[in-house]
Amino acid sequence: MLMGSRVNPNLFAFLTATKQTITHMTTQSIFSYTTVKFPGPELTLVTGGDDCRWEPEGDDRRGNGAPVASHVDAALCDVADYLRAHGICHPDVIQNRCRTLVDHAQHASGQDSHSQNGVDLRLASLRLAADWVGKLHDDLIVDCVSPTQHYISTFDDLISDPSLLKRERVQSLGVQDQLCRRVCRVVPNAQRQPMRHTETPALIGPLRRQWWTTKVARSWVSLRGTAETLCRVVGRRPISNAN
């Protein structure tokens, strides 16, 4: 089955939202792969199995200076692909998020879409998308003191289930149960407590010069004391005076 119709890039968000319907249609049909081709040079929505992505037409579909309608469209495509690669397939999320992220990237650079470097905008948008995905992790892990120390396994399944993300708050009971099963801590919170420093033990006495000098000094004092005592006993001058 091959369908084609003209599409304005501005309808991108809406059409993205219909992805699941199209995918459903295709899986219902006997064809395993469907290309929804919208006449015109701008975008082609390609669906196959669970995959659905926007691609500019022609060979040079995604590069700098490609025949996409504008840099914004390319950025929207990139962000949509990126979110889907993360398993975020719900059309509402894609629709909302792509537009917001690209707008934000444009706004942050303080330039309009025509004067801005295309690659720059796409990268900035993607970066915001990556940040958003990271933040999504953090926000989903609401119970933790340090959400950054966690990783959500099978994140894609969780996010691709629209019923979870349509809720007003993610921390509702049902979602929390699912999250609890999927959130894994990379490491627990660190509570630094340093090791007690160990000084290098000194050499045993006989291997130290100081030990010998002390011994000799002590022996000398002892000898001198003995000598003085002897001198006193025999009534002669002490040795120190003699020196």
Partner: protein, 725 residues
């Protein structure tokens, strides 16, 4: 439960039990007596033809070396006596002990190990802990110091897969250190500093350790039962390898190990030793006592301590903590090197570490037993060059006798030296007996306990002992040469390379064997020829030594051969109990390995052909997210300098494979730069890496985040709000 070591005086020695004192006294007296007797015999031997100054030099050398084998023999004899005693005093805590278990961390430090096998072991131990019903008391920490980028990424992937698939009350954490300061000891110290306060105890394992859950629970119970116990070491038994060399080691350790370990326990008592893994340690005591001191001087003998285990045990004992060996604990395993080469590589590291301890022997504050452990470690390696020196001096002494006695033939001189004399023969037989009799002890203990069937039956056991003895005679001279080389190199200031261990049954091909052992073979042939020409009377006496050198190439190939090992196994030789009836933990390990990675041979290899984890972390958002979360959690991001980043950007035109291994790891540590590569790859689509390189070179860099960029779209919008668009 927790004691405050800061209140302890600097040096405390716990009261020794009467049996330990008696044991030490008996072993000392027996060793001293036998050594003096040996020295007296030796004096008679060398004084037959008059004693020259070189022979005088050999006297203390002989005393040291003969005393060392006497001590080993006496220790084994003590072990035999204890083993044959009807009731052996144990410290097992009754199973009815209902006290809740304290929190215990299981630490698995890894350094460029095979991630599949490491995490399969983790999973098997996790299952085993779950089976005990005490898993909640434990947390597992995989503490990675891995420097190979691909291995690091595979570790992360293996960890995340484990977390996805396993449900347990025992958590599994993964931490990668950006800089492996202090190697394994630094890795464990880092754990103690960051997370140690959350745990009363820690079980330290090696990457190849496999310990059953019930053993870990029992270790924990014993630590709880004795407030002064700082370290409890469970003897690790080598298992699981198939090469002939590995099976020889496995057989020897399993058969002879218990006798020696029991004898060791007789004199070591509460001042035992720690072997670096398969042991449980008291975290507070470790943190208070075991920060490793810096040795004076430069490497290789000075600087940072490389072999940390002996020193940590000595420091614990120095502060009054007990360090014990739990000889009765079972199901504590490790793996051993499979070829002579791998064994030698491992020994090279251990050699430098143990020689470093020589300076600690003469430092203040250590218990005499700890000093003896240090001496034992040093002599493990220094004994070989000392034996060689002893033989050289003997030959020189004999030559001097030859020069001084005009007209004497070699046969006559040999006669004067007493090689045919009964005293010399007696000395030789005594020395050999010291080395061989402990093997008979072990065989006797095994048979008396009715365990011969665990080693393949009476005939198989006896034949295996003979085979192992023959092999050890062939291997000893080879090891002696290597140990001598290592010791000489280290004493001359050379340092060793600290690389990851090769743990798989890889075998040895002939060309590698010729390259590695060719020189040794030539030296052996030359020595044999020289001896045959000069003094053929000595040829027979030196034949065990010379045979090892001359046959080193075929010996190396045969020893490394897994097929030969398997053949002997089929013949019922060198069998160990775990090969006859595999333990539950081994069954679990192999089952996990097979379930996750297919046949063992496949699991033992690295990444599948064409799979490049580094490329994947740049291309695949999920893999990149996983890595960035691990990096963030470990707080281990290390930014690269601008110049290095620029050079990597230019290399990226040829794809990630163009980036050299050393830079790959650096890129993985720089979270921000990795994200730049990752995102640039995303906009390049399927056009290949040339596009990425061009994009990286001509586009503005991802600037450091502004405050506005740093806070992406409102927090509330992270949850989907359908219709808000």
């Amino acid at each position: 439960m927790q004691t405050d070591p800061s209140r302890q005086p600097a040096i405390q020695v716990p009261n020794q039990s009467g049996s330990t004192k008696t044991g030490r006294f008996s072993i000392f007296v027996a060793t001293a007596t036998l050594t003096v007797m040996g020295l007296a015999l030796y004096w008679q031997v060398i004084s037959v033809a008059g004693v020259n100054w070189v022979e005088l030099l050999t006297l203390p050398l002989f005393g040291l070396l003969f005393g060392w084998i006497v001590f080993s023999f006496v220790t084994a004899t003590a072990g035999l006596i204890v083993c044959l005693r009807p009731s052996r005093a144990g410290v097992a805590i009754p199973a009815t002990d209902e006290r809740p278990l304290a929190r215990c961390a299981i630490l698995i430090p890894v350094y460029n190990e095979n991630p599949r096998q490491v995490f399969a072991r983790v999973e098997a131990m996790l299952e085993s802990l779950n089976a005990t019903g005490q898993a909640a008391a434990f947390d597992i920490f995989v503490l990675s110091d891995t420097t190979d980028a691909n291995v690091w990424l595979e570790e992360e992937i293996a960890w995340s897969r484990l977390m996805e698939s396993v449900e347990s009350r025992c958590a599994v954490y993964y931490r990668h250190r950006s800089d492996n300061v202090g190697r394994k000891a630094g890795n464990i110290a880092d754990f103690c500093e960051r997370w140690g306060s959350g745990y009363a105890f820690m079980i330290v394992l090696d990457a190849d350790s496999l310990v059953a859950g019930h053993t870990m629970v029992e270790m924990l119970r014993r630590m709880q039962a004795d407030d002064r116990l700082g370290i409890l070491q469970a003897p690790p038994l080598p298992v699981g390898r198939e090469s002939l060399f590995a099976r020889l080691q496995q057989f020897a350790a399993q058969l002879y190990g218990p006798v020696f370990a029991t004898g060791f326990q007789v004199w070591a008592g509460d001042q035992g030793n720690y072997w670096g893994h398969n042991a449980i340690l008291r975290v507070d005591a470790f943190r208070e006592c075991c920060d490793l001191p810096l040795l004076p001087g430069e490497a290789p003998l000075g600087g940072h301590i490389l072999s940390h285990d002996f020193v940590e045990a000595a420091l614990m004992v120095r502060h009054g903590w007990k360090v014990r060996l739990a000889t009765d604990l079972t199901d504590s395993f490790e793996e051993c090197p499979t070829t002579i080469t791998d064994f030698v590589i491992r020994d090279q590291r251990w050699c430098q570490g143990n020689l470093q301890h020589s300076s600690l022997i003469v430092r203040e504050g250590f218990h005499p037993c700890s000093r003896l452990h240090f001496v034992s470690g040093v002599l493990s390696y220094a004994a070989s060059p000392l034996w060689i020196l002893f033989m050289v001096l003997c030959i020189v002494g004999w030559s001097i006798d030859g020069w001084t006695v005009d007209g004497a033939t070699a046969t006559e001189i040999a006669g004067w030296l007493g090689w045919s004399h009964s005293n010399a023969l007696l000395l030789f037989v005594a020395s050999m007996a010291m080395l061989m009799v402990p093997k008979i002890y072990a065989w006797a203990v095994c048979v008396s306990r009715g365990r011969a069937s665990s080693f393949g039956g009476h005939a198989g056991l006896l034949l295996s002992v003979v085979l192992e003895t023959f092999a050890s005679i062939l291997l000893s001279p080879i090891m002696a040469i290597y140990h001598s080389r290592f010791v000489t190199k280290i004493l001359m200031g050379g340092s060793v390379r600290w690389s990851a261990q090769q743990r798989d049954d890889s075998g040895v091909n002939w060309s590698d064997a010729i390259r590695q052992f060719g020189t040794m073979t030539l030296c052996g042939i030359a020595a044999t020829a020289a001896l045959a020409l000069i003094a053929p009377e000595f040829l027979l006496w030196f034949s065990p030594l010379l045979a090892g050198w001359v046959l080193s190439i075929p010996v190396a190939v045969a020893m490394g051969s897994p097929s030969l090992g398997r053949l002997l196994r089929r013949w019922g030789l060198l069998l160990i109990p775990q090969e006859i009836i595999p333990t539950d933990i081994h069954k679990a390990y192999h089952e996990v390995l097979h379930r996750r990675h297919g046949p063992p041979a496949l699991a033992a290899t690295g990444s599948p052909a064409g799979f490049d984890p580094f490329e994947r972390v740049i291309e695949d958002p999920i893999c990149h997210l996983l890595h960035s979360r691990v990096l963030k959690a470990g707080d281990a991001s290390v930014p690269l300098d601008d110049q290095t980043r620029e050079s990597i950007r230019s290399l990226m035109a040829d794809g990630p494979r163009a980036i050299p291994a050393t830079l790959r790891t650096a890129v993985l540590k720089d979270g921000e730069f990795l994200q730049e590569l990752h995102l640039t790859r995303q906009i390049s689509g399927d056009r290949g890496w040339a596009r990425v390189g061009r994009a990286l070179s001509r586009t503005p860099r991802l600037q450091p985040r502004t405050s506005e960029q740093a806070s992406p779209p409102s927090k509330n919008s992270t949850t989907a709000q359908s219709g808000s668009g």
